[in-house]
Symmetry: D3
Subunit: 298 residues, 6 copies
Amino acid sequence: MTPLDKGLDKARVLIEALPYIQKFAGKTVVIKYGGHAMLEQDLKEKVMLDILLLHSVGIRPVVVHGGGPEINSMLTRVGKESHFVRGLRVTDKETMEIASMVLVGKLNTEIISLLNRFGGRAVGLSGKDAQLLQAVKKPMKFENSQGELEDVDLGFVGEIEQVRPEIVTSLVEQGYIPVISPVAGGEDGESYNINADTAAGEIAKALKADKFLLLTDVPGVLRDVEDKDSLLSVIKEDEISGLIDLGVISGGMIPKVECARAALQGGVGSVHILDGRIPHAILLELFTDGGIGTMFNA
Amino acid sequence: MTPLDKGLDKARVLIEALPYIQKFAGKTVVIKYGGHAMLEQDLKEKVMLDILLLHSVGIRPVVVHGGGPEINSMLTRVGKESHFVRGLRVTDKETMEIASMVLVGKLNTEIISLLNRFGGRAVGLSGKDAQLLQAVKKPMKFENSQGELEDVDLGFVGEIEQVRPEIVTSLVEQGYIPVISPVAGGEDGESYNINADTAAGEIAKALKADKFLLLTDVPGVLRDVEDKDSLLSVIKEDEISGLIDLGVISGGMIPKVECARAALQGGVGSVHILDGRIPHAILLELFTDGGIGTMFNA
Amino acid sequence: MTPLDKGLDKARVLIEALPYIQKFAGKTVVIKYGGHAMLEQDLKEKVMLDILLLHSVGIRPVVVHGGGPEINSMLTRVGKESHFVRGLRVTDKETMEIASMVLVGKLNTEIISLLNRFGGRAVGLSGKDAQLLQAVKKPMKFENSQGELEDVDLGFVGEIEQVRPEIVTSLVEQGYIPVISPVAGGEDGESYNINADTAAGEIAKALKADKFLLLTDVPGVLRDVEDKDSLLSVIKEDEISGLIDLGVISGGMIPKVECARAALQGGVGSVHILDGRIPHAILLELFTDGGIGTMFNA
Amino acid sequence: MTPLDKGLDKARVLIEALPYIQKFAGKTVVIKYGGHAMLEQDLKEKVMLDILLLHSVGIRPVVVHGGGPEINSMLTRVGKESHFVRGLRVTDKETMEIASMVLVGKLNTEIISLLNRFGGRAVGLSGKDAQLLQAVKKPMKFENSQGELEDVDLGFVGEIEQVRPEIVTSLVEQGYIPVISPVAGGEDGESYNINADTAAGEIAKALKADKFLLLTDVPGVLRDVEDKDSLLSVIKEDEISGLIDLGVISGGMIPKVECARAALQGGVGSVHILDGRIPHAILLELFTDGGIGTMFNA
Amino acid sequence: MTPLDKGLDKARVLIEALPYIQKFAGKTVVIKYGGHAMLEQDLKEKVMLDILLLHSVGIRPVVVHGGGPEINSMLTRVGKESHFVRGLRVTDKETMEIASMVLVGKLNTEIISLLNRFGGRAVGLSGKDAQLLQAVKKPMKFENSQGELEDVDLGFVGEIEQVRPEIVTSLVEQGYIPVISPVAGGEDGESYNINADTAAGEIAKALKADKFLLLTDVPGVLRDVEDKDSLLSVIKEDEISGLIDLGVISGGMIPKVECARAALQGGVGSVHILDGRIPHAILLELFTDGGIGTMFNA
Amino acid sequence: MTPLDKGLDKARVLIEALPYIQKFAGKTVVIKYGGHAMLEQDLKEKVMLDILLLHSVGIRPVVVHGGGPEINSMLTRVGKESHFVRGLRVTDKETMEIASMVLVGKLNTEIISLLNRFGGRAVGLSGKDAQLLQAVKKPMKFENSQGELEDVDLGFVGEIEQVRPEIVTSLVEQGYIPVISPVAGGEDGESYNINADTAAGEIAKALKADKFLLLTDVPGVLRDVEDKDSLLSVIKEDEISGLIDLGVISGGMIPKVECARAALQGGVGSVHILDGRIPHAILLELFTDGGIGTMFNA
């Protein structure tokens, strides 16, 4: 191929993207960033470039990141021993402090750094900034040996009570890319750990986002979990219950799908569960026909 | 190639465009649209798509179109006989009226239609709208047989006296793509025909455009006019005179280069002479290394 | 009269206009400009001056012009033969092209020129600019010899499907006077001829105009068509049907009154059918007690 | 004349005013209102109508009124005896209080009432509102019997030290007509009487007004004070000194002309000395060729 | 106490005020200023300082002042004899003129002066400015000797028909403190005297004020009028009728409480009746727990 | 004291603060927060309350915090051994990562929490957010045994090259309190530790702050370092060199004073070195006569 032919090929690809760009211009897209895509340097960079490309064509990305194994490795490193209740680790004050340091001071900062290095203007937030996420202790109940439900205290694990999205909206309107750590504030100033999928979903709802993308380590919802080619590309909100009953949606996929359903019910346009292990998963989902994951919509 | 591989290829092309998109975001680019690129349907559409892509990634395109052979064919069709003075056609009132109808009522409308059909929001203007272009009769002098200079009246051929770019700026700021016909108003309301390159250059100057692209039917400035590979990719403003003296810039290229020089001196960032016969010439020039034509800058 | 007395007379006239000016300040007035008022130079100029006076006292005029006999004369001039179906001329592609050239490239440009010459800042638009008017082919049915309704294809004669008034609003808010040609775009970029009264009425509705003035070649609605002094100055919307039944509104007046009724039902404050053959008809209607034509209101 | 002919006559007058309206649109005009025009009910109303007409055609009038004989009559009424120093009345605290009541509480309120009654939105101000006018005691010196200059204390007669025009600008921008009483505040909150011509001139300067009109009880500057037809229509700033030396400008006209000169030097476009005894003097000056008074400009 | 200890004490007081400041930031507070607080210089200054402090911490104060005994003293001074009908003084045109002069020209100006002297930016208004308060003659009926109700004409005593609060809102938004005299305009431009409590209440309603403070010469509503310690700190709107029936609210307190009730019903957040004879009554009410007067709320 | 008397005392204190509040309204105050004031819970809270009080009276505080001993204790905790070059600790990548976690993820978050708990709307930033602080490796040179200067690499210790204050300005204008950690980004996305005083000073310069307060653990500049009563309350910029030469400014005070001087030269209005160990040091400095520390101004 001559250089001109190569150029023409590229021009064609750009032009093919035009209808997608026009369609999504000005839309708010919340991206839950986690899993493998946060671990490998090459995947990380590709996610950042995808986000920057969205931003550069007029889409408004908002990133909420997860924690990954970094919190555990830091806990180990400082010799913090975990306590467990009914098999679940208790997030005591010290654990929460370490978690906050890793999420806000390390992971968030790294994401910001990457985005800015590729020409972006990203701003890191936690749920405590401008009281973005307000939480209360998440009530947990377990059945005891007598078959009665008992409250169990897992420490600073929170449930979101209120989202004040103004700081996010205001940063987005000024052209910044907000990157949010899933740490919320409580009434007395303490910090709570929040499930990152849930945090992202709540933020998507509060922003009335057009799209909410969940980067996961699975291809999406498979009709046959053994068969990668059995991907369900689109699931309607009212089909979800049936698919759970049928066992098509099961295991770890259930909370993700519930998170998707809650977002749809809260006014989000569509929710996409994507395989973050595929490079450029975000662009592939948004800018190619059919996409690569499972889209949920009303 | 699997569909995923194809998708990845496309994603890579989009990401390669990112630095260009970031670099040109918010810039004003004036495009003189004319020549072959106005004649063939396929080229026409590709120019429109290029313009829309620029617009969709945050660039602010302003289009000034030329007349092409349509004016002559319309004159023929209505049986209008032309008068000539010293071999130059006189643009009398009737000719001007026909020219205005073809430019404003046909060509401009067609461009608008194409842009809008592909999802754009284009608005047609002539230089008479909001007094955008104010002209006076262009003084022409010819040497008579006694070797004296004599005024020659070529009718409604104008020279731009004043540009009021507010209407263009205001449309651009509201996200419209202005498409401008090279017809100017005179003091008493009459219309003047304006050379389209000149009109585009004056508008680029008045807008303090970052780039001014001239779509032509030549590859750019060639060091050896016979050798298409001898293209000069970049010419500095202060090299222009020398290249004219050397005869590298000659013939019909001289007025185009003078137009480029005037634009640079008027504050335009760079001027590009491109081969409009190449599909996607605009994207190739702006979004690939080195581009395809000749760039003039300070 | 001394110059001072003359001056005082003028001052008194200006002061008499004050209550009208105060009453109409900030109101949007859509003016359908057509008929004789588009043919005679003196009447033309007076219409333009009236429009400029409205504008200068804080009223927001929007002009929609008709075609007049110019389209036919151009068709003749280029030797275009018309085809007829059931006595109605078919607007084929070529005819539409000529119509567009005359409307947009000649008549609109002339109006702009006149307004700007008297100090205005007018901007010409067609319904294709920024997708202002979107049309579909107007369905036409005729009874055939068997008494059945048959579809008849009259070509590019359109019916307005959607009005996107943003471009008009935005120009008006920035102090421009929009002048609109009754050409609409279709889904595939083709052009449709639109009845100018209808186009003006639809635009008035989309703008929620306070007033919609139709310049015609009749004095308004006459109780006795033979008696010019039998003008009905005001007709309530709910009186229209009765007046049609009585034959007071008949013939060519019916479509105009239907257009008025549609505008009122669409939220326009009042509709005025005026005699455009009277100089300064617009000022006389708006700035004198009772006016000179027929006003329709709710 | 038929009603139509009368209507046409009126329309012509309105159209004749168009160039003036276009020329003055958006301009700030400061009007010093005083003399006879404040005494006779009919003249008063005509001044108010003139001001409202200016406002309704997009001009921005600012009114500064004088005191007239009302202050003296109020002083008499409350039995306040005046003290004199070298023939000049001393404005003691009580006198100032009465003056303030008459200016702000009576005259200003009356002007506001009239303007609002005719449909205006006028707001009364004194120089104390928002610290519009800050004054110090005006230093007065008189020659004593030994031929030496001695300070004389005339009480609360002030000299303007600072103008803070923001409140006026802000009211004007919101479409109000400010009416200002010539009372200024001093450093310790006390009030000072200010010469109304001077106050108006200083305000015109601070607003960078385009025009400053002084309504007086004389026709303007007459070359021969006995001959009303010897009016000087235009005086250039640099001719003023010569005309004073020649005695053409003399007596009570001198301070008015000095006030005009100071305004011109402070950036006011033109100053007009008008005969407020002529009905509609303001309209006659602004909207007829040549006007009726004397215009001073640079 | 060392200077540092004194400083710390002050810092503590400021910090104690913080929750109140945060709570009231951005709120509109209408203050009816009258009674003793308008008579003694020291009280006057403290009221002004309180108002300025509110303003400086982000509260938006609007002041409506009463007349006090100054109007009567001026009437006496000019020898104006009052006419009485059924024991009520008739406000004839001359009386109204004097009242207006005293209210607008003297009292309002004095308040402005004080506020500005302490660093404020206050602007005086009467109800006639920008047609803020529009009134009609207040209908008064008295029983005659036959036991029939008869209309009694008390002259220019008005009842508020319409409030146009835009001028107040606009001044407040630009950081000015509006000070309003209770004079309203009538349909024909005449002036009406308005009860100051009523005027303040109507303005509070039109502004949807958060708080309406009435400075009076009583401590608030006392359960036992003889016992100053029997103050009712809070009265709910629905308790008012009962308290009137019980005679707890009686005499001159009834119209004030009715004014409070009307304000609450019109959307005002809370109404406070305060003892203006206590220095800094406003700060004490707003910035200390429980306050010093009686608060009415829904 | 009766409650009323106590209330009056408080009101008096508030009123005494009025002139200071008026004087500083709208001013930007950059506060370097560090030292003891970051260690004791009670002092911490008082600093936060002071900052919130400033904010609530219209001042615009911007906080830059230091690191304190927390970084070292975390390094110890994770068993990180430090390397030293010429007695200076090398900030290697791992150390920098720990520092960033402590600064951004722990200390900054704690400050935000406290401010928000007391009703504020604070937003945490590091120098990497929106590329606020761009740094390069700080060049360090030491004399080697041959007396030659040698470059020494202390790792990720940075020198500020560029400040992009837009994100801070934008947050401040929307009413947020920005809290900034002294971590800067490098060209390739790496993080640099920045001296907090320097970071605060550079930010103050970039914001053209009116005041820059340095909370330290000393009373200010003492004429005699042994005598706490020998505080120099005001030092002019041009006296600094002399005081250094005299040894009055010496030791650890020198870099702080140099930082102050740089800020003044960069356009900051005044710089204040305060004793952060005194409760409410900020309020005492700004809201009492003379203040408590040393003020530097031009």
